[in-house]
């Protein structure tokens, strides 16, 4: 592919520079709150990349994906907080969180292999809820998760002596904690996107695509369907667990309410809206769906400032807008806002 040749083109260098200075611009312009919002957008991008492996690549509907995010977040919270007074190093916690989530992915995948479509969606939905309810109730018989209160005072992410939450000086610049997290998350998203793209354009990615297109024909073409489905489930879950651990360190606090069904639906919307199967598309979807609600919230503040009263409450219209947007997408761009190249080709063909 021509990617390696074009990486030094003026346009990509420009984009790269923009990504580097973005947190500085945001801090100077709209304010620190927006750096935080972009950090969240990057965490959601990791989730979208992971869920896209399951839904976009292998074509398996998963409505409980947030459970893997929860797994990673809670494992980090347990291993790096005052809860048990453990403070494990990142190089141990992060892989463990990812691996545990990956294992959960296998556990969810194994019994659901024969299910398709709606049935699979219902079982995965149930799984997501079970994990959340467990987290909610594991304060008895012995206190593991602190129940609905969640775990607070989680250690920030530390690499060696570098604590991400503490401001640091670089070449005359002072970077805040949120800005430093931005660079960590950006690097992670780029890494995950790169891995996912490599997998997609390989023998493994083609096997997933075959299963997505026609499971029976895939088996008749020599693909061990079961193994490849499990692989998709566990790799997707691994991404979720990794992102969850980063989230726990970033936020300093986790509670079961952060991992409810709406969150799973949200990540699924990001994948569908952005363009199922296309890694860049789902990142776009994640950023869009993280930033838009915040922009809506600003609308509320703006009304308050100008009219002294909120006429349209953004929280009321948010879900309405999402629903409307999804319906429009399904009607006019069923392959998503940024479809994969193959789907784009097909759409161009259908136009006269």
């Amino acid at each position: 592919m021509g990617a390696s040749a074009s990486i030094f083109s003026p346009v990509s260098v420009g984009k790269g520079l923009l990504l580097v200075v973005l947190p500085l611009l945001l801090q100077a312009g709209p304010g620190a709150a927006w750096v935080r919002i972009v950090d969240m957008a990057l965490l959601y991008s990791m989730l979208a990349i992971g869920l896209n492996i399951v839904v976009g690549f292998a074509g398996l509907l998963d409505l409980g994906y947030i459970a893997f995010y929860a797994t990673g977040a809670y494992l980090y919270a347990l291993l790096d907080s005052m809860q048990f007074n453990l403070h494990w190093p990142l190089w141990a916690t992060l892989p463990l969180s990812a691996a545990l989530a990956g294992l959960f992915g296998l556990l969810l995948g194994a019994p659901t292999l024969r299910l398709r479509g709606d049935y699979l969606a219902i079982v995965t939905l149930g799984f997501g809820e079970i994990v959340r309810i467990f987290l909610n109730n594991l304060d008895t018989p012995f206190n593991l998760t602190n129940g609905p209160q969640g775990i607070s005072l989680i250690d920030p992410i530390r690499l060696g002596n570098f604590t991400f939450s503490r401001p640091h000086h670089f070449a005359g610049l002072t970077l805040t904690g949120t800005q430093q997290y931005y660079y960590l998350f950006l690097a992670t998203v780029i890494g995950m996107a790169w891995l996912a793209t490599r997998l997609q354009h390989s023998r493994i990615g083609r096997a997933w695509a075959a299963i997505r297109e026609d499971e029976l024909a895939a088996a008749a073409s020599g693909i061990a369907v079961r193994n490849y489905k499990l692989l998709a489930f566990s790799l997707g879950a691994t991404c979720g667990g990794f992102a969850g651990a980063l989230f726990a360190g970033f936020q300093g606090f986790v509670s079961p309410e952060s991992f409810n069904l709406m969150e799973s639906v949200m990540v699924l919307c990001m994948v569908v809206l952005g363009g199922m199967g296309n890694v860049n598309g789902v990142i776009f979807g994640a950023i869009l769906l993280t930033v838009l609600p915040e922009a809506l919230r600003m609308m509320g503040d703006w009304q308050l400032n100008h009219f002294g009263h909120i006429w349209i409450d953004p929280n009321d219209v948010r879900m309405l807008l999402f629903g409307g947007a999804l319906i429009l997408i399904m009607l006019y761009r069923p392959a998503g806002l940024l479809p994969s190249p193959a789907q784009r080709r097909e759409w161009q063909k259908k136009l006269p």
């Binding site: 891995l195 490599r198 997998l199 390989s202 023998r203 493994i204 990615g205 083609r206 096997a207 695509a209 075959a210 297109e213 026609d214 029976l216 024909a217 895939a218 088996a219 008749a220 073409s221 020599g222 693909i223 061990a224 369907v225 692989l231 193959a342 789907q343 080709r345 097909e346 063909k349």
Partner: protein
């Protein structure tokens, strides 16, 4: 002559329907073997049994001395039995080239590490795979559409693509379920030439289901006739045509 495929006393019931009853037949190495019979006679069911999609009520199947009974669908392909489907089953949203590349999945070795690192071995495998896929498309005559999505191919080309995908796994036995269905006369003749050339070049055996008896007579070395799940004849084409039971049961009912 040595036997490649041995179907031994296979019976298959779906509830009250006796789709196959005590069917036995053998396909030899390098043979083109035809399977005919009226609608619902059990031809596709026999394909489903030998490729593992349907478990027979009794009987067993061996390919090149290995028992296929009870094996998973993908394992049967690995043993050397590839097929096409009566109601075409391609990967419609993938390109023609990708369809054929997937057909060769069983011969690949690239795992997660190879896919991510794209090490020399993985790159070579990928390059070889592309070359082979192009050659196969050339052989079946649709190499000018490699990037087209499978669903956008014409009906006849979709059937050819399905053959190319099945061939990609380098089977010992290629099973074609009504490959000429929906084709015009010229296309049918071309397809017959293609099947004959595949046998000649690849030294494989081919098992074909088709309703066009004349077309089959000119293609097959031997033909078996199924009727209500039973094998009522098995012989060289000229004798099958004159077989009284066949005339009564099959040709009679068809006309």
């Amino acid at each position: 002559m040595n036997t490649l495929l041995d179907i031994h006393q296979v019976s298959c019931r779906f509830g009250g329907v006796r789709a196959l009853h005590d069917v036995s037949l053998t396909v030899n190495n390098n043979e083109i073997f035809g399977l005919i019979g009226p609608n619902g006679a059990g031809k596709t069911t026999l394909f489903n049994v030998i490729t593992g999609l349907v478990t027979p009520t009794s009987g067993n199947v061996t390919l090149d001395g290995c028992s296929l009974t009870g094996l998973a669908v993908h394992d049967i392909l690995r043993h050397g039995l590839a097929r096409t489907f009566q109601n075409i089953r391609l990967f419609p949203g993938l390109s023609v080239l990708e369809n054929v590349m997937i057909g060769r999945h069983s011969l690949g070795h690239t795992g997660i590490w190879g896919a991510i690192s794209r090490n020399q071995r993985a790159r070579r495998e990928e390059a070889d795979l592309r070359d082979t896929a192009h050659q196969l498309l050339q052989q079946v005559g649709i190499h000018h559409h490699t990037q087209t999505l499978a669903r956008n191919l014409s009906y006849g080309d979709q059937r050819r693509l399905e053959i190319a995908r099945a061939l990609a796994s380098e089977p010992k036995l290629l099973a074609l379920d009504e490959p000429a269905a929906g084709m015009g006369q010229t296309e049918r003749d071309a397809l017959r030439e293609l099947i004959l050339s595949l046998r000649a070049q690849r030294h494989i055996s081919i098992l074909v289901i088709e309703h066009d008896v004349k077309w089959m007579m000119a293609l097959c070395d031997r033909i078996a006739v199924l009727h209500f799940g039973e094998r009522i004849a098995l012989d060289i084409p000229e004798r099958v045509r004159q077989h009284p039971d066949v005339i009564a049961a099959y040709l009679g009912s068809a006309s």
